[in-house]
Symmetry: C2
Subunit: 351 residues, 2 copies
């Protein structure tokens, strides 16, 4: 019974603030027998690429607390968006050599995994990279959940109009950089903020009309007034806290705040308070939260549009690729700290 | 030139917290010559009833601060919803004896006022009370702006569904008592809070399924859990602050928060912070502010429905009627303090 080494990213302990590699998230050795017989309907996936995303922090909680995604079980591999290849199969829907997308919250962070019949619905054959020539990592980012989040959030919840001002926080991130570029295709005035001068430079390169480094700003409200001289019509909210307060001060009447995430608050024991919600009434603002998984009707148009935009060069997508599954805990913590640049992914193995 | 005494409610000084009668709001004597010739298009109104409402606090500000309604000019009569009778006219659209509605923000708090041609659009002949037999005061309340606010807010912004749970704060107030009763006509489970046991008793009398005195509650979040065991689907927000926080903790997925006002914050120099907006994402909440004046398309259906509900006894409406224009400053401050019960109006003169 020759065993193949099989490293896994394990959720080891619930963090109270920032998770620490080796304490809350561990990469552990295990082994798998790739020659063992497979039950009917089962297949074995080899992990190629995985996505680390801010929402994962919300799953690192006590399982008794309910939320839109289940908590990670302690002592088990973490899960998320993955791309894989089938190395062995006893399931006619998944053939050896097929590329397989492990959907949000369900792709397993393990070099190899046996997928049984009942888990089949969480996996999808996605051989498109063989045709498009786009990098496999794109399929857990711009063409996966983060890309769809940008698409659904702006188009369905932002009610964007040509000529309006769009402001995106965490704008160089996995989602933000796409929101801004989609906004440009619609003829919006697109503005954004990020946490380094280099990121701000990148935003301008990909077509943002204005961008700033929020870490260098004392008064966010005044800065936004300068950057968005006509006020903000659509705010794509990734950050929360003080940024949200400053945006509310600058929103135009009938403005829309699309709440995608509030990363500045995830690692605080006590979240910051928002003191100016009274403006919601006077300005008739709409603040709406969304989860991309509720909008399955948009999967097909999203994949079609985004693939075309990428192939035509209309949309650019910056990735930071960490090399090897061992890097996963560090990659996730970089994302939570804003130390990554663009979409953070981990390349686990090459095809 | 025989002068008729003409008392006026004057905005005398900008308050920082609660306005004080005689300091920020004064009732002053003046005089009017009712026999003077009237310019073409002008007419003279005698004030019968006026409405004092929480939103008026927002107009008692420095005129340089913009908001959805202009600031009250210092030294001039305050304005709001009024019912009047024409005592003299040189305008064919307004005949002597016509009852006239002074629309929100525009009816003048003066025993008599000369309305010139250019102000005509802010006044509307409304002789309905002569046919319905309903009290004149109803036409600045349940059949005026507060009634329409309840109707538009719940039906247009609340997206209410049969069987859902509705929670209304300031529920015995001018708007709240109507929101709850409209909710009942739709088959909702209707809950509310108010600031005295007597008010709570009244809510139960008019059909609320559950109600509580928020002043007797230590832990609002726990109390709401008890009162709304299935969670809250629609929150009609009149209060803000801690109440809003507790509601967010109890909102169901895809819940709607209709933001009509935040009275608990109007008289604070520093508003309270809301710390749990992160739930907006996870629960996909929608928080939307509205101003009734944006929904003119609903005026006709509102008046038709509400008149019918009142005449059929399906909707009850409690008013507190202060007697005489001198009482106006006290009546407004009672509203801001929650000391009134039901809709606070001032009866200035009888027909």
């Amino acid at each position: 019974m020759p065993a193949t080494p099989n490293k896994q990213v394990i959720f080891a302990k619930i963090p109270t603030t920032y998770p620490v590699p080796g304490e809350h998230i561990k990469v552990e050795d295990s082994a798998i027998d790739l020659d063992a017989p497979l039950a009917e309907g089962s297949f074995i996936l080899k992990l190629l690429a995985l996505s680390v995303d801010p929402y994962m922090r919300g799953r690192m909680r006590d399982a008794s607390i309910e939320s839109y995604l289940p908590a990670f079980p302690l002592g088990k591999p973490m899960t998320g968006d993955t791309m894989n290849v089938v190395v062995k199969s006893n399931n006619p829907n998944f053939k050896e050599g097929d590329l397989v997308y492990g959907k949000t919250a369900c792709g397993i962070f393990s070099e190899y995994s046996v997928i049984t019949k009942e888990l089949e619905p969480y996996f999808e054959v996605r051989n498109d990279p063989k045709e498009t020539g786009l990098p496999i990592t794109n399929y857990v980012g711009v063409l996966g959940m983060p890309g769809m989040t940008a698409y659904v959030g702006l188009l369905k919840f932002g009610a964007p109009k040509k000529g309006e001002t769009l402001y995106v926080s965490a704008a160089s991130g996995a989602v933000g950089q796409l929101v801004g570029q989609i906004g440009k295709t619609l003829g919006m005035y697109v503005t954004g903020s990020a946490g380094s001068d280099e990121k701000v430079e990148y935003l301008k390169e990909i077509g943002f009309d204005a961008a700033f480094n929020y870490k260098k700003v004392d008064n966010l409200t005044e800065k936004l007034k300068e950057v968005c001289p006509k006020g903000i019509d659509v705010y794509f909210e990734n950050v929360g806290g003080q940024m949200l307060e400053a945006v509310i001060d600058n929103m135009n009447k009938f403005g829309r705040i699309v709440a995608c995430g509030m990363i500045s608050q995830y690692n605080r024991e006590k979240p910051e308070g928002i003191h100016n919600l009274m403006q919601v009434v006077a300005k008739r603002l709409r603040i709406e939260g969304f989860i991309v998984g509720d909008s399955v009707e948009m999967i097909e148009p999203f994949r079609k549009d985004m693939t075309q935009w990428l192939l035509e060069g209309k949309i650019k997508y910056r990735e930071t690729v960490a090399d090897g599954i061992d890097q996963t805990p560090y990659a996730l913590i970089d994302v939570l700290n804003g130390r990554n640049f663009g979409k953070q992914v981990v390349n686990v193995a090459n095809l």
